[in-house]
Amino acid sequence: MSAVEVHQFAQCITCHAWSPDRTMIALCPNNSEVHIYKFATDKWDRAHVLYKHDQIVSGIDWGLTSNKIVTASHDRNSYVWNQEGSEWMPTLVILRLNRAALCVQWSPKENKFAVGSGAKIVCICYYEPENNWWVSKLIRKRHDSSVTGVAWHPDNILLATTSTDGKCRVFSTFIKGVDTKDSGTSSSRDLKFGEQIVQLDLSSSWSFGVKWSPSGNILAYAGHNSTIYFVEDVCNSPFQQNVAYRNLPLRDVLFVSERMVIGAGFDCTPMVFTKDETGLWSFVKILEGKKTAQPNLKYGSQFSEAFGKLYGQSKNDGVDPLKSRGGAHENTITCIAPLRKEGDTIVRRFSTSGLDGKVVIWELDEKTEIPQ
């Protein structure tokens, strides 16, 4: 398990997203532009720059089937970009927000996208073919503070949100005409748009980075109090587990498989959490940050090096906290994205981007057993 590639794209990266064939990456270099880089033989070329937003682009998502890019920015707007030939054409989406948009994600079917904002509102946007524009429906209720993260359940209807009021909520985003009622899923009572299914009040501090597991059975989110929360069977009988770890808080999490989660945040290296056979989630280890020449390094040396760094760190923290810790990232990791090949059920490669302007690609090699 190691960092296989380290790329420096800018001084600071706000967020990033990969193209469906994983050859292009869209990222925001901490300004109002979106840069799209294409990998050509051995280096990255800046293929496109999308200029439309007036302020920092806080969220980018690239639809894997539709090849559309959606961006959300602090300027309270969102654009959907369609690739026409060699150009990306923007379509403005009027979100009706009076505060910054903070995060955005396409739904699994990519017919809707959700935007979380500082206005304590979540916007669900869908395409209306008659008028050829994107309409936004707002979930105004429930949130007491900024919505920091949104995550779609695989059924394309349930949406989980995290907020700086410390709570994680699940809403129904059923829209007549866009979604079809599936008789197998939850009762019709819950299908009303904007209906809150459950509110999880597990963290007394800000929460970030919510994600559903691949089956949609487990919800994971990170609290700013150095704890990660796992909730199973959210809609019917929520069963929660808090895992408190010794490092600095996480900002984003990723489900690699049904039983393994990677978290990344202020400690600048990804952390691995797994669920064992008894159903208990626990912290396993920190991923080795050094770039290795051969990806298949022996387990033993990687582990002891990582642990040596962990225990040696606290003594050195007071001396020079800004000194590079020798890991791949030198500053907080804010975004983690999967690099899933077609047909893969588990994620073996993922990328992290952070405030140091680097995008690091990590690979869990074949020797690593990923519990499923």
Partner: protein
Amino acid sequence: MAAAEENIEAMILRIEHKSKKIENLLKQSKPVEALQKALEGSPTNTRDQRCKSANWIVVHRAMMAIRDVDGMFSSLDPEYYDILMKYLYRGLATGDRPTCDQCLRIHEKLTEKAGLGCILRSLAETVNTV
């Protein structure tokens, strides 16, 4: 609410009982057990300041009696690390020189043992305070 107040009175009684047991343990030169006993059952989920102050006095008494900080960590149960960190910050807030000295001594070792996450949890905790 009558029910809540009854609970608070019961809690204060419990803390007083704890205090007697802790005095005994300290007389038997078992400061680590005394501290663990003091940290057990801390009134974090109430808003009553009297309870919290009463428990703080007990924890403070046990904490000041500790001489060997490294030895303490070899026998203190890790589930008490988070609550101990909260009390260390309460101690540091008093400004009293001997208390702060002891708190800093313990804080250094506790951070090594429990990591920065422990500090974060005590800072971020606005609801279950000590």
